[in-house]
Symmetry: C2
Subunit: 145 residues, 2 copies
Amino acid sequence: MDEFLQVAFDEAQKGYAEGGIPIGSVLVHQGRIIGKGHNKRVQNGSVVLHGEMDALENAGRQPASVYKECTIYTTLSPCSMCSGTILLYGIPKVVIGENKTFLGEEDLLRSKGVEVVVVNDSACYDLMQKFIDEKPALWNEDIGV
Amino acid sequence: MDEFLQVAFDEAQKGYAEGGIPIGSVLVHQGRIIGKGHNKRVQNGSVVLHGEMDALENAGRQPASVYKECTIYTTLSPCSMCSGTILLYGIPKVVIGENKTFLGEEDLLRSKGVEVVVVNDSACYDLMQKFIDEKPALWNEDIGV
């Protein structure tokens, strides 16, 4: 697995171990991780801290010029909230672990000029399937179903 | 001013008094406020807590059935992040104080079936203009410019 996607996956596993939703993300600026995080719905009772949002929050306030040189890695295809956030900050590239469990707004991102790379990583997929088998209601809550 | 937009505006003024970005929001379920908030970029160093996001966060974890009966009020037209979040949770109606300062993703929301009402309230507009005159760099940071 790509080294940065591996860190995102490590975050997802951390979330799983905490009893949370196992989706992780890292924000990479010029080859250096500036923020990483994972879904905090269970841990913080948060409805906005998806993995991508937590990674961005942990990177802290950055100038627009930094975001425009970043790649965001996420273990699962980004939902409309996370995709909208990627567009807000003008992050030009998204690397996605898998999109078989959930297909987010990849078309919207591409239509706005964002480079979207889908790895189809089986470890990311298997972890989500294990989680959804165990806690289907929690998963549905996270995607507004 | 509509009573719920007034509460959103009160939140915006609270944000201004704290030295923050004066945008406020309330989430209303069946005529009752279940969450209110304001932009927390300055106060919390947050890059995800726009007014709408803070209102949703303060409402806490809600079942999908609740969001689908909510209206969200916001003093300023919702950006791509906040619009994406409204879509994620299936909130069917958005009432917007003004969209002259910033025009968010109203077309995207309408295209997905969300009812969008723009009030064009002068108090919401004047507060944003005062703020932007005073702190233009902070405003640009908030919208990723």
